[in-house]
């Protein structure tokens, strides 16, 4: 009997042990030497390493680009095994690193992580990033314009060389040319079109990523001085009052939305379904090639096309960073450098692979490289790089994103 009760208590102990985790902070010394080392030396050290890249895993083309294009080449050319770890939300990585930092775990598991915006800010503010390392990468120095505002600042936050730009996304509208002969080209024209076509437009409710971007996109169109919002200088209340024109705009279109604006699609997938079914005539995406991909998969009508607003089209850059406790920092640097190479960027740009915007600067390309780039034609539903470039606007400060999302609930959804 006593043996059994002992076993019982052992079991209890096991179950309660996790609750006892206590605080302990360790000082971390970043691998300083690696930052002094010669890049060929870094590459040599990287050979044979297995590099784990943690990235959102919900997009087929992104996953395929990594698994089928990048991984075999990195293995062949650099002798590095690339392991893609799919995650659901970049915040999960940040939380993991926060706990690891608190517990003093100096050897983590993430070598590279794909982040931007608020997650970068969180990581930076909590010293979760290793570096600055970007200027150690030959391809960064060769192809990236580090002084470009859209590269140096991530949602208004100075990157300080702690993350390397990997690609760009731009906000576009998607419509069915069969149903709309010429799409609206300004926010005002969009409002007029919505009023003329009741029930044929809607947008996903924040905090859906695309829905939230749509609201910022409208803000860029209705505000006279958009640059003011690139850095966070206003408190919540002043910002909410100052952007009254945004709330007015959204409230004015509300009665003409799908379901009379009583409900909104909960996420972009739902809106895309409505569009695919012909319920609504427009959808939207932060990926300029999205319409083209969907046509190829047979989900959107072949007459689907893309447009942007002349008031400006929001764009953001996404980055690659190395955590403080990355176990294979040399390998991480080598892989990031490879991802910034012209070939890797070109393949990523190719709509047949991923169709992501270039992080490298067009101005820094050699004539042959420019020629190769020209060979890649955007899909018939996508806009040309030049057209996209023409109306490009940077994202506003990351600090404002949450405020605007919550403001939408109070000023628009509740009405």
């Amino acid at each position: 009997m006593f043996k059994k009760i002992l076993a019982l208590f052992l079991t209890l102990g096991l179950l309660t042990a996790p609750l006892a985790g206590c605080r302990q902070t360790a000082s971390l010394s970043p691998d300083k030497e690696l930052l002094q080392a010669d890049f060929s030396q870094i590459q040599k050290e990287a050979r044979g390493q297995t590099v784990a890249i943690y990235m959102w895993g919900g997009d087929e083309s992104v996953n395929r680009y990594m698994d089928e294009w990048v991984a075999p080449r990195v293995e062949k050319e650099l002798g590095i095994k690339l392991k893609r770890v799919p995650i659901n939300d970049a915040r999960e990585m940040i939380n993991k690193l926060l706990t690891e930092k608190e517990a003093g775990k100096t050897k983590g598991s993430i070598d590279i992580m794909w982040i931007n915006g608020e997650n970068f800010k969180l990581a930076k503010d909590n010293d979760l990033l290793w570096g600055p390392f970007v200027d150690k990468l030959p391809n960064y120095n060769r192809y990236i314009d580090g002084e470009d505002y859209q590269i140096k600042y991530d949602f208004g936050e100075d990157t300080e060389g702690l993350e390397a730009p990997w690609g760009k996304a731009q906000f576009v509208f998607i419509y069915d040319s069969n149903k709309i002969a010429s799409p609206p080209d300004t926010v005002e024209a969009l409002k007029a079109w919505i009023k003329d076509n009741p029930g044929r437009f809607t947008y996903p409710a924040p905090p859906d990523f695309t829905g939230s971007a749509f609201i910022r996109q409208i803000l860029a169109g209705v505000s006279s001085n958009y640059d003011r919002y690139l850095t966070a200088s206003l408190d919540r209340e002043s910002l909410e009052t100052e952007i009254t024109p945004l709330w007015d705009y959204l409230n004015q279109i509300k009665p003409y939305l799908w379901q009379k604006g009583i409900t909104y699609p909960e996420n972009i997938a739902k809106l895309n379904e409505l569009y695919a079914q012909g319920e609504v005539y427009m959808t939207m995406s932060y990926n300029p090639n999205y319409a083209d991909n969907m046509i190829k998969q047979g989900r959107f009508p072949a007459t689907t096309r893309t447009f942007v607003l002349k008031n400006g089209s929001l764009a953001n850059t996404h980055y690659l960073a190395i955590p403080f406790n990355a176990p294979h920092k040399a390998g991480a640097m080598a892989v990031i450098d490879y991802l910034l190479s012209f070939e890797a960027q070109l393949a990523k740009f190719d709509p047949a692979n991923w169709g992501d915007g270039l992080a490298i600067s067009l101005a820094k390309l050699s004539p042959e490289e420019k020629e190769k780039l020209k060979q890649i034609k955007p899909g018939k539903a996508a806009l040309s790089p030049e057209e996209l470039e023409k109306y490009k606007l940077p994202e506003l400060s990351g600090a404002y994103v949450d405020i605007i999302e919550e403001g939408w609930f109070n000023h628009v959804a509740k009405n």
Binding site: K4, T16, A17, G57, I87, Q277, Q297
Partner: protein
């Protein structure tokens, strides 16, 4: 009168239950085939196999993920069994001080939402050097699953007829023979119930697998979650079906195994 009404209601009720289970499954199948089926359309749209092609393509790593999922679920269940046996027996038969408290504590992990304790667990596991390993994940999976196993076995133990054990001793059976031939068969329904719960919970565990496995231990749930969660509903649906299939096959094998044990435990 009442009973007649009841008899009429039973088929209606059953049909309702079946529909309730089948309609989501059909929707999932159509969704995985890239076609949506929405009100007010009577028929689903055109279908495509691209989502399935992605899911079964070797680069997507579904197969190793599936293997990892099963490995973790089955090992955790086995450990659960070994741990829960003596614990359940004590809870069922010995009336000592604090038994109720023990019972409650053993149930706690199933009651407390995982996100509330996951940081604590994560830290402890870091100190124990168990993060980012399969053994760590297996150990972490014991937390949400062990309570169910203990519960199921406690009920089993409480309903055991010990006079049969005595009878077996009287017929010359030693301790282990008596356990295997007489006690275990009586525990089997409880073991089956506990194992099924344990396997299912482990298979669908997301948060603990992610945090303790740190992404180094990739289960099917981890791979499919970004898709299901809005990334690509069609691929998400294909993964969900694959998951359901895996769970179904596992449960079926578990059941057959237990039944086989039951019949092979025949004496000759």
């Amino acid at each position: 009168m009442v009973s007649r009404l009841f008899k009429l209601l039973i088929p209606v009720f059953l049909t309702g239950m079946v529909l309730l289970n089948i309609i989501p499954l059909l929707l999932l199948i159509f969704l995985s085939l890239g076609s949506s089926w929405m009100w007010p359309h009577l028929f689903p749209g055109p279908i495509s196999l691209s989502s399935w092609k992605y899911v079964i393509n070797p680069a997507a790593g579904s197969l190793p993920a599936l293997k990892t999922s099963l490995q973790i679920a089955l090992t955790a269940t086995l450990i659960n069994l070994i741990l829960a046996m003596p614990a359940a027996k004590s809870l069922a038969h010995y009336h000592f001080k604090g038994r109720k408290a023990c019972e409650l504590i053993l149930l706690l992990p199933a009651l407390i939402p995982p996100w509330a304790v996951i940081t604590g667990i994560h830290k402890t596991f870091i100190y124990l050097n168990l993060t980012d390993t399969m053994s760590g994940v297996i150990l972490a999976h014991l937390l949400p699953t062990l309570p169910y196993m203990v519960r199921a076995l406690t009920i089993s133990f409480a309903s055991i007829d010990y006079s049969l054990e005595e009878q077996a001793y009287l017929l010359g059976g030693n301790k282990s023979q008596t356990f295997f031939y007489i006690t275990l068969p009586q525990l089997l329904p409880g073991i089956a119930a506990g194992s099924i719960l344990s396997v299912l919970i482990s298979l669908s565990e997301y948060l603990t697998t992610l945090i303790i496995g740190g992404g180094q231990v990739l289960t099917l749930t981890l791979v499919m979650f970004p898709f299901v969660n809005g990334g690509n509903p069609s691929i998400g649906a294909a993964y969900s079906l694959l998951f359901a299939l895996m769970a179904l096959i596992t449960l079926f094998s578990l059941d057959t195994f237990i039944n086989r044990y039951y019949s092979e435990n025949k004496l000759y």
